[in-house]
């Protein structure tokens, strides 16, 4: 076998410096076997059952929190005057942010021909969808009269009333629903060939029928593949700008407002970077354990971890730069309200949240400069957790902390959450975990055919493995 450095790229569309993203010795069959093994195993392992059971409890908590909310009103939460938005919007933005890695990986990296994405895009996309589902719950439920939420959508009605198009909340409606639709289409489209593979391998009649229906009659003909490739590229083209637009528009919820701490032009890029930052952290948080439990370390290699950590570090630096600029502008503007807010952040009653934020998002990611940390699974996992917490704190700093200190001191206030705030937040976490675990049980965690395609390309690049007959 030729060494890596001897090889020159034969295809300009592939990487300039080709790398092998499949470790170990695999052929097409072994790839499918390993990835589909967990799905097709009729007896799920105990860790899966425990996690699903545990998350199901939180799904129950979530439904309880929703029921109580609809019965009584937003007042069961800690929201007040002046903190009209609090955990409801924090959690919305946080979840939406988490949903950003998936699309970035699947669309932008696809368009950039980053073949390393193949082994992580499937579950990152799944996480996107589930995160957007969790995120979507909050704005829909946070309204005072959730049963009238349909007024947010433009639909012909006898009142002749349309939504008010100047409101960023309306832009949110379009941004998030578009994002959700495209993400689901993209994800499902990519699943079709894999579901067909599962159909072929399923032994239970339930599996045969289920996968058979879901794969939409995929036969793997050249025409199918041709159409598939076209559709993927079109959808990737559509979703690439969405990665930028969704969180930009979410940031408008604040940037358009005149509240000190919200009204800044820096928000769109800073939010997008933060979203990718949080998204990659969440992919790592779930990906690292699953990678070892499902035995797919050959496909999600240390190289993947390294690269994901680098993206985390890069976006983290952008976010940290944002924090510094916020402080600088507050000082540079000389604006009494901005200064007051900055003072509030640094010395007010919530100062520890701000310091924690700086630690989580500013300091912690810096250890990713070290190569050893980037490939150390435990360290990486801890960093990803801290970043997840940090990104939640960032929204806390932006939303309630700004609202509790605006223009007129007499209306300043204090915010603290109630048990129902916790209930709904932890509930959505349970809901997310529950959906993710259902997904890994019933659908392949890693893209089967793309891995096989990657293997094929590897053979072109690095030559055939002597012992295996594949081509």
């Amino acid at each position: 076998m030729a060494t890596l450095n001897d090889q020159r790229p034969t295809d300009k569309r592939t990487q300039i410096r080709p790398q092998n993203f499949i470790e170990g010795r695999h052929d097409y069959e072994s790839i499918t076997d390993i990835i589909a093994r967990f799905v097709l195993n009729p007896r799920p392992p105990i860790w899966w059952l425990v996690t699903v059971g545990f998350s199901l409890i939180f799904v129950g908590v979530m439904f309880m929190a929703i029921t109580w909310l609809i019965l009584n009103g937003t007042g069961i939460w800690g929201n007040n005057q002046p903190t009209a938005w609090a955990w409801d919007i924090i959690n919305f933005v946080w979840w939406i942010g988490i949903g950003h890695a998936g699309t970035l990986i699947s669309a932008i990296l696809l368009l950039m021909r980053q073949s390393w994405r193949n082994s992580i895009n499937r579950f990152a996309e799944a996480m996107t969808i589930f995160a957007v589902m969790c995120a979507g719950l909050f704005p829909l439920l946070h309204t005072g009269r959730p049963w009238l939420d349909y007024w947010l959508f433009p639909y012909p009605n006898i009142l002749g009333m349309w939504p008010q198009t100047r409101s960023p909340l309306l832009w949110d409606v379009f941004a998030v629903s578009t994002y959700f639709t495209i993400s689901i289409l993209f994800w499902f489209l990519g699943l079709v060939p894999d579901i067909a593979a599962l159909r072929d391998r399923a032994t239970s009649s339930f599996g045969k029928i289920g996968y058979g229906l879901a794969c939409l009659g995929w036969r793997g003909s050249a025409k199918h593949w041709h159409r598939y490739e076209q559709a993927t590229n079109i959808l990737a083209g559509i979703s690439a700008p969405l990665v930028l637009s969704v969180h930009t528009i979410v940031s408008f919820d604040f940037a358009v407002g005149i509240v000190p701490g919200w009204h800044t032009t820096i928000f769109p890029p800073y939010f997008v970077a933060g979203a990718v930052f949080a998204g990659f952290a969440m992919v790592l948080t779930f990906g690292l354990p699953l990678r070892s439990y499902l035995g797919v370390k050959d496909f999600i290699t240390d190289k993947h971890l390294d690269w994901m950590a680098k993206i985390t570090l890069a976006t983290g630096l952008i976010v940290f730069y944002g924090y510094i600029l916020e402080m600088f502008y507050a000082w540079y503007s000389g604006n009494v309200y901005e200064l007051g807010l900055m003072y509030h952040r640094l010395f007010g009653p919530y100062k520890w949240f701000y310091y924690a934020l700086l630690f989580c998002n500013g300091v912690t990611p810096q250890i990713l400069w070290w190569n050893k940390v980037r490939v150390n699974v435990k360290m990486l996992w801890i960093v990803s957790l801290i970043v997840g917490i940090g990104m939640w704190l960032e929204r806390f700093v932006i939303i309630p902390m700004s609202l509790t200190r605006d223009f007129i001191p007499s209306s300043w206030g204090y915010y603290s959450p109630t048990v129902w705030d916790w209930g709904l937040f932890l509930g959505t976490m349970g809901f997310f975990t529950f959906l993710l675990f259902l997904f890994i049980k019933f659908l392949p965690l890693i893209n089967l055919f793309e891995m096989r395609d990657l293997l094929h390309k590897n053979h072109h690049t690095f030559g055939h493995d002597d012992k295996k007959e594949a081509h």
Binding site: M161, I258, G334
Partner: protein, 1071 residues
């Protein structure tokens, strides 16, 4: 054969009482069919019959003289239209003439009666809250004997049975609050004539006794002093809260404010502006409104009064005072002497008789009588000392001489001096016989006194009653019912007549007192609310000379003195059942649903309540204020009350507010606040020496305005520029800057300052006005102002929307005359169906008031109470021209009207709350829960939806009752605007200036709020906005508020210490 032995039966089954029979008998509808057994036709028949019979349920046998709605509408009546009737509300024996708005026979809102001398069209918080009392579901509805439902006849029978042994009324005692009503006075006379041995006792925790005793000392007879502040250039308050709690306060506030309206166009600008000196023992809104304030212990007030008297008259024997106070008095005496004939000294009702005697002696010296004060016969029909009167009753009862005690009104078990032990006396017995065998209590609520009486008699509400009352100046006005009594209740007048065996209709009883009036004159008096020519003529009295020797030795003060004050919203506790008043923020402290022991920062340090970190450590105050209880001991009795540290409170004084901690009296009153009556002894009704110690016991006092610094914490020189104030001399001298604080702005555009300096004197007024504006930092930045760079005066890239041809509503609030009484807040609550949310919810920052009264301290040194100044800032919706709330609503639920109103469409609102976030004034209020429904998650509130609750009648039908999940806010009373517009359109005319009056404007005692049309250059509001001291809040945000303020301009005495500058403005510290 006796009847009872006869056995009558209809059937053998009945005789045998078989099971089947019993079941048949007990079943309301025997042999009925289930719903499924009934066919459709029968069902329809039964339904129809049910419908027809339902009407009968509403029928009651009519007794004589009912108030009934029109059977056929009168010609000038229209359904849905409101009508106003004149009547009178009585507080502390003093009548306040009101006009009550009535919708389809139910009263919904109370306004002032412009004809009434105590009102002049304005009202106070208590008058506003009376409407809720009327419909309060907790009001007493039944006669009860020992807790069991009974009847009026049963009570009268019980009383007559008792009188059989003593028809002359021996052993019968009446206990009433001081009687001022002429007809009740007449009824008492009738009763005492019929039962000559019966005795009347009078007691009220808040009384005029000191005033009467003081004037008796000075003039030889008790009289009432009536002040005419419209003639006063110098007003001195000797512990008199004449702007809020004193009888006649509404009128006094108006007269006082009328001489404080600083206007450029006034004939001689500022010449007529009055000056208020307040010397007080608790921080009140009168003190907060003063130009100069001197704080002192309650006992020291008398010494100060003696010293002032001595300084003015040269009399000897005055006590020596501290240097500061002495210097203050020197200047005050000079100022008073210079304004002979235009000055007045007002003594407080809580002060000693000596202070009253001294004050009126000073008034006599200043030629005040006949000009700024006049003396009239007391309004009280039989003036007597409440303590002495109650003591006589106690002594008689202890001696077993009282057979029947009839308590008509009041709540003496709760509010009598603690050392009288009235409660124990009522329950005491000799052997197995009770000392007072018949005790009856007439009151609107089943309260502490009712509990200890055999009989509880429900009292009618003022709006259900016939009666009369004297105004603070002695003028008489009539009380007429607005509605048939909701329950079987009686007024004291009716009960007295019945007890005297002269039963009559209440109307006839009142009418007979005014028998000299012809029927047309009577009708006219009813319509106007005020009786003509029955005011009191001023008396000419000669004061005794050498008052100081008359008064005896000066009092000595204690290290810590406790000062009992009527609660600024609950008064003596009689208003405690009122949820609106409980939730109304107390002026200055903004405490709700509680009362606190008020101490100054220095005292708090002295008594080890908070550590002495620093002289003006605001943070410290915020940390220890309203957090723990203070044990106050007076004469061996003690109470624990949460402590509130208030800058401006005199050092060494603990102010305790009466009226909290009611044990009984309806769900709202109970267990709210703390009862301080246990330490209020007969020897120290108003103030007493006390020991205090922090208990360490925690208690969370809830308040609506948190304590924060108004300046930037980051850059101390940067002010948020929210309240603006200045001095009259600066305003008048056109060459100087009127707002001294501007000088200190580091980052004010220096170019503008040079520009100002170059301006020569003697420019025309218009130019001067603009120039003043330019000197204000944010005005120069207001992009809507035309200047060289912005010739069109546009505030955005888009051209202005033309508002030509429409009325443009706007409001101007004069901070010079705003006294922070909160009447606007509660008037708005009554007008706009604003819910009550309870202590817990206010604690979470969810109060719903549409107009709030912000309060800011300004002081260079928090620990010096005399250096503290207060600023009030009422904040309704600003109705911004470029409202930040509007573009962010995703469903267009808040929109701009062509008349410039920022409107809220409740039906369209889905409750995203984005508008509230984006409102820089935070005036929007969100219905987080179902506030108007039962038990909003445990809060004390008002349940408008309970089956059969009288509260259903309370709501103003012109305003919707909002459900949960909906944002709401001040509308500029759009319902009132629309009503006037409809009238104007019908008459094909323009809306006249002043025709539309918002609820807050109407109630305002000082007339500080003006509403009108900006498109009319001659409207009051347009003219006020052209004043040079007009400013908008946060105009640098380009919101262009329609509500603007006239900066507060004070009129200090130059010879005295100047006002603290705003740079040191602080609001008590930060959290």
């Amino acid at each position: 054969m006796d009847m009872s032995e006869k056995k009558l039966f209809k059937s053998y089954a009945e005789l045998a009482q078989t099971d089947e029979y019993v079941r048949w008998r007990d079943d309301e509808f025997p042999d009925r069919e289930g719903l499924l057994d009934i066919d459709r036709r029968d069902f329809m028949k039964l339904s129809a019959a049910g419908m027809a019979l339902a009407g009968l349920a509403g029928c009651r046998p009519l007794s004589e003289r009912k108030a009934v709605p029109f059977v056929r509408s009168a010609e000038d009546r229209a359904a849905g239209r409101e009508y106003f009737y004149a009547t009178t509300l009585v507080r502390g024996g003093c009548g306040l003439g009101v006009l009550v708005e009535q919708h389809e026979g139910r009263p919904t809102k109370i306004e002032g009666n412009p004809n009434h001398p105590s009102s002049l069209g304005a009202t106070d918080v208590w008058a506003q809250a009376e409407i809720l009392n009327l419909y309060d579901p907790n009001r007493s509805q039944l006669v009860r004997e020992n807790g069991e439902t009974s009847s009026w006849d049963a009570f009268y029978d019980a009383f007559r049975t008792l009188l059989k042994s003593a028809p002359d009324g021996d052993g019968v005692r009446l206990l009433m609050p001081p009687v001022t009503s002429p007809s009740v006075g007449a009824a008492i006379q009738t009763f005492l004539t019929a039962r000559p041995k019966a005795v009347l006792h009078q007691w009220s925790p808040l009384s005029q006794d000191s005033a009467h005793a003081g004037t008796e000392k000075l003039f030889g007879k008790p009289v009432d002093a009536v002040y005419d502040l419209s003639n006063a250039r110098i007003v001195v308050s000797l512990d008199a809260d004449f702007l809020l709690t004193m009888p006649g306060s509404v009128r006094y506030a108006r007269d006082w404010a009328n001489r404080r309206r600083v206007r450029r166009a006034a004939p001689a600008p500022g010449a007529e502006i009055n000056r208020l000196y307040t010397i007080e023992s608790s921080y009140t809104i009168t003190g907060a409104s003063a130009d100069h304030r001197l704080s002192a212990k309650p006992t020291d007030i008398e010494n100060i009064a003696r010293a002032l008297y001595a300084k003015l008259t040269g009399a000897s024997g005055a006590p020596t005072l501290a240097t500061g106070a002495s210097a203050f008095l020197d200047e005050l005496a000079k100022d008073l002497a210079a304004n002979n004939g235009a000055a007045v000294v007002i003594p407080g009702d809580d002060q000693s008789p000596a202070v009253h005697a001294l004050a009126h002696a000073i008034n006599a010296r200043l030629s005040a009588p006949g000009r700024t004060v006049r003396f009239v016969e007391p309004g009280q029909v039989r003036p007597e000392s409440g303590v002495a009167s109650l003591k006589a009753l106690i002594d008689a009862a202890s001696a077993g001489q009282v057979k029947a005690l009839l308590i008509l009104g009041g709540n003496p078990v709760y509010d009598a001096p603690a050392d009288f032990k009235l409660g124990e006396l009522l329950l005491s017995s000799v052997g197995d016989k009770e000392k007072i065998p018949l005790r009856a209590h007439l009151s609107q609520y089943e309260d502490e006194t009712s509990e200890l009486c055999h009989w509880h008699l429900p009292e009618s509400h003022a709006l259900e009653s016939w009666g009369d009352a004297r105004a603070h100046d002695g003028g008489v006005s009539l009380i007429q019912p607005l509605i048939q009594p909701l329950y079987d209740t009686r007024t004291p007048l009716e009960v007295l007549a019945q007890l005297a065996d002269r039963p009559a209709l209440a109307r006839d009883l009142v009418r007979s007192v005014y028998s000299t009036l012809t029927e047309p004159a009577w009708q006219q008096a009813l319509e106007a609310g005020v009786l003509p020519l029955i005011g009191r003529l001023p008396l000419t009295l000669a004061p005794k000379g050498d008052v100081l020797s008359l008064l005896g030795p000066a009092p000595t003060s204690a290290a810590i003195e406790v000062n009992f004050r009527p609660d600024p919203t609950l008064l003596d506790g009689s208003f405690a059942p009122n949820a609106w008043l409980q939730e109304l923020p107390r002026p200055i402290t903004t405490i709700v649903w509680d009362n606190a022991a008020i101490v100054s920062p220095k005292t708090a340090m002295d008594i080890k309540l908070m550590p002495a970190y620093g002289d003006s450590d605001a943070v410290n105050i915020a940390q220890y204020s309203g957090r723990q209880k203070l044990k106050v001991t007076v004469g061996g009795q003690s109470v624990s009350v949460p402590v509130w540290i208030l800058p401006g409170q005199p050092n060494g004084v603990v102010t305790l507010y009466l009226g909290g901690g009611r044990a009984r009296g309806g769900g709202i009153a109970e267990d709210v606040g703390f009862d301080v009556y246990p330490v209020r002894l007969s020897s120290g009704l108003n103030h007493a020496g006390a020991q205090v110690e922090p208990t360490g016991e925690m208690w969370e006092v809830v308040y609506t305005q948190p304590h924060h610094l108004m300046r930037s914490e980051f850059e101390e020189s940067a002010n948020r520029d929210i309240v603006r104030s200045s001095r009259l001399d600066l305003y008048q001298s056109k060459s100087g800057e009127i707002f001294d604080k501007v000088e200190h702005h580091d980052f004010t555009d220096t170019g503008a300052e040079h520009h100002e300096a170059e301006k020569p004197d003697g420019e025309p007024d218009e130019v001067v006005a603009d120039w003043y504006r330019e000197s204000w930092k944010y005005e120069t930045q207001d992009p809507s102002r035309k200047n060289d760079a912005n010739k069109e005066g546009y505030s955005s890239l888009y051209p202005e929307f033309s508002r030509k041809g429409y009325n443009q509503w706007a409001m101007s609030i004069d901070l010079t005359t705003c006294i922070g009484c909160n009447a606007c807040t509660i008037a708005c609550q009554a007008e706009n169906n604003i819910p009550v949310v309870g202590k817990d919810m206010v604690g979470r920052g969810r109060e719903m008031h549409w107009i709030r009264m912000d309060h800011y301290f300004e002081t260079p040194a928090i620990s010096d109470p005399d250096a503290v100044e207060s600023h009030f800032l009422p904040i309704p919706c600003m109705q911004c021209e470029k409202a930040p709330c509007e573009p962010v609503c995703p469903v267009a639920a808040t929109i701009h009207s062509h008349e410039g109103l920022n409107q809220m469409v409740y039906n369209r609102c889905i409750g995203t709350r984005y508008c509230s976030n984006n409102c820089p004034y935070k005036v929007r209020r969100f219905n987080f829960l179902k506030w108007t429904q039962a038990d909003a998650l445990g809060a004390k509130g008002l349940d408008f939806y309970r089956e059969g609750t009288p509260l259903k009648m309370l709501a103003n039908p012109d305003v919707s009752v909002r459900g949960r999940g909906v944002m709401e806010k001040c509308t500029y009373c759009v319902q009132r605007i629309n009503e006037v517009r409809i009238d104007a359109k019908k008459e094909s005319r323009e809306i006249q200036d002043g025709e539309i009056v918002t609820a807050c404007q109407q109630v305002c005692p000082t007339g500080a709020i003006i509403f009108g049309d900006l498109n009319n250059p001659n409207s009051k509001v347009s003219r006020l906005k052209a004043e040079s001291h007009d400013y908008g809040l946060l105009t640098d945000l380009n919101t262009r508020p329609r509500t603007t303020y006239l900066a507060r301009i004070k009129n200090p005495n130059k010879a005295l210490k100047p006002m603290p500058t705003l740079e040191a403005a602080t609001e008590g510290g930060e959290h």
